[in-house]
């Protein structure tokens, strides 16, 4: 075990498109999935991550290294997360949230979910549909009925700007 020898251990992760990545064990165990594998002694060779592609895994590893380099200071960690996610588009965010879910990394999962929620907040139904390409499969009557059921959420002004 790494902790016994005192030298930093490196793990090799393999994405589903066969890309290999080296990452310090101390950073990689932010993922509970990987941590469990290490604890079970399955981390000797290459760790295959069947649900994550190379591009996303590279991004997740950048995050793992970045966040584990910050000492226990929740404010600094939060600002790192904000900065890390600031330039990501929705497609990337969706890949990341799926990877975070698979890797069982609650801090990344929460940060990405909150970021997607932030995009939806205070926006009209029409805006959210357009933004995420959600197809409205309700008939006009059905839609009116659902709206009527939750009519309190449709009172007041809607913000529809694209900012």
């Amino acid at each position: 075990m790494a902790a016994e020898t005192g030298t930093p251990t490196t793990l090799t992760l393999k994405s589903n498109d066969d890309e290999l990545f080296s990452v310090a064990e101390s950073a990689a165990i932010l993922s509970v999935t990987i941590r469990n594998m290490v604890e079970d002694g399955c981390a000797g060779g290459v760790i295959p991550l069947d649900n994550v592609d190379g591009k996303t895994l590279a991004s997740v590893i950048t995050y793992m290294n970045g966040i584990s380099a910050i000492p226990a200071d929740e404010e600094k960690k939060k600002s790192y997360r904000d900065k890390f996610l600031s330039d990501k588009d929705f497609e990337t965010l969706a890949d990341m949230v799926l990877a975070a879910n698979y890797l069982n990394m609650s801090c990344l999962m929460d940060a990405v979910s909150a970021k997607i929620a932030q995009v939806m907040e205070k926006k009209s139904v029409g805006w959210v549909r357009r933004k995420f390409g959600i197809e409205n499969d309700y008939t006009p009557e059905e839609e009116a009925a659902v709206k009527e059921e939750h009519k309190w959420t449709f009172e007041g002004v809607e913000t529809d700007d694209d900012n």
Partner: protein, 464 residues
């Protein structure tokens, strides 16, 4: 199907977790697959101040939602409810609260934040509040906590307690706060019946932020907790049992009467606060507060304000002020000195008037003997006679012009700046003469002084 709708439900749930109640419910209209995702959201958040619709509708939405969660045995990890009581719906609201709150324990509510604000009459909320077992935050405004408290107060998880204009006596208050071992924040503002609050380190191990504001000067606060980060006290007697505040970042004392246990300096308060970042003092007496030399991380944001009500004994006043400034001299100080026009004027900041015309130049002469301010700002208040203000303005400008021309051996540079009200900007006044018309539009004058390095600077910023 689009990307977001295809995400697994546990991820969509997580996204919805971060939305407001309103936005989360609205997602049901997006498409059929979104219809019921919000329905099992583990957090509920209802606030009537952002609710569009009348109170009855609000009550029925909350009631129906809670009923559904209860019927379907859904888990509520977090619940926030903010409700104001007023007009003709308060009885209805109270009876709903009496029905809802006891159910939360059975529903497994983890963190419950409750705010009850009464608009008109002081409403007895003891029937509701003492049933709220999972309470994490409690905020009450204009409520009565009654005379009959239960034997066991169930607030074991309470971390934030805010009581504003609450009718509560000392025994009930103590009974409550002694039952909250995890309390981190306590705010007590204008609570009737509560004349004394004692903070003991054995009872409040985690308390970090303490605010006590009152307009009743019979009130008193006793502090014996070393771990506090924020202390904000207004309008009462305060007694410090200890002087070492290792974590103290912000100390604000406004119109307080300070006493300590210290034997050798019976009237002085010496505080050891190595991490202090902000200190604000407002009072009509010059206090004897000092910070021990370890308190040296003080940032320039510190703000010291003195209201000097009575300057009949100017000599002793300046002596005291000088002593106080010296004890704080390592730090950037913003000093505000005010004198009431008339002692009967209400203690309201907008009604303050500043040093009277006749005393100003001599006052400044005395002031320069005790400190080296870098900026002096003089505020005029918009009420009062215009003529007076003009005379004052001219006199002040004249004083500084003379000072600039004659110079002072320690003074390197002096700039006079005036604030133009209509243009909302500071403008440097170069010549000695100010146009009569320009005077009409001035509310503040600011003087920047640059002192020679050799002279001791005891005060960076001085506001008059």
């Amino acid at each position: 199907m689009d990307r977001i709708s295809k995400l697994p439900e546990e991820i969509l749930q997580r996204i919805l977790y971060f939305l407001s109640q309103k936005q989360a419910v609205r997602t049901s209209v997006l498409s059929k697959s979104w219809r019921n995702i919000w329905c099992t959201r583990p957090n509920l958040d209802f606030s009537d101040d952002t609710f569009k619709g009348n109170k009855q509708y609000f009550l029925s939405v909350v009631n129906n939602t809670l009923q559904r969660y209860r019927d379907q045995r859904l888990c509520v990890k977090k619940f926030h409810l903010r409700i104001s009581l007023g007009d003709n719906t308060y009885k209805e609201s109270v009876s709903f609260l009496e029905k809802w709150v006891p159910r939360f324990t059975a529903m497994g509510v983890g963190a419950f934040r409750l705010s009850i604000l009464s608009k008109n009459e002081c409403v007895d909320m003891s029937s509701v509040v003492f049933k709220a077992e999972s309470l994490k935050l409690l905020r009450l405004f204009n409520c009565d906590l009654g005379q009959n408290t239960p034997k066991n107060i169930p607030f074991v998880r309470l971390t934030v307690l805010r009581l504003i204009k609450v009718l509560i006596n000392k025994d009930i208050f103590n009974k409550i706060v002694w039952s909250c071992p995890l309390l981190t924040t306590m705010l007590i503002e204008q609570c009737r019946g509560l004349e004394n609050v004692t903070l003991e380190k054995t009872r409040h191990k985690y308390l970090k932020h303490f605010t006590f504001r009152t307009i009743d000067d019979r009130c008193s606060v006793e502090i014996d907790i070393l771990t506090l980060e924020t202390i904000d006290i207004l309008g009462c007697k305060v007694r410090f049992h200890s002087h070492e505040f290792t974590n103290l970042k912000s100390l604000s004392l406004h119109s307080v009467e300070i006493s300590t246990d210290s034997v050798e300096q019976s009237r002085a308060l010496c505080i050891d606060a190595p991490n202090i970042k902000y200190f604000r003092y407002v009072g009509n007496l010059i206090p004897s507060i000092s910070f021990t030399p370890t308190s040296n991380k003080w940032k320039s944001s510190s703000n010291v304000r003195f209201y000097i009500k009575d300057v009949q004994d100017a000599q002793s006043c300046f002596l005291k002020l000088s002593k106080q400034l010296q004890s704080l001299s390592r730090f950037g100080i913003s000093l505000e000195i005010a004198q009431y026009f008339d002692h009967n004027i209400v203690h309201n900041e907008e009604d303050l008037n500043l040093i009277r015309v006749a005393s100003l130049p001599s006052f400044l002469n005395c002031l320069f003997c005790i400190c080296r301010p870098k900026i002096i700002t003089r505020y005029w208040l918009m009420h009062g006679e215009l003529m007076m203000r003009e005379t004052e303005q001219k006199e002040l400008i004249q004083y500084f012009c003379i000072l600039r021309e004659r110079g002072n051996q320690d003074l390197e540079d002096l700039r006079i700046e005036i604030f133009n009200n209509s243009r909302r900007e500071w403008k440097r006044l170069r010549g000695p003469i100010l146009l009569e018309s320009a005077l009409l539009d001035i509310s503040h004058i600011r003087i920047r002084l640059k002192w020679r390095e050799s002279c001791e600077s005891s005060s960076n910023l001085l506001e008059l």
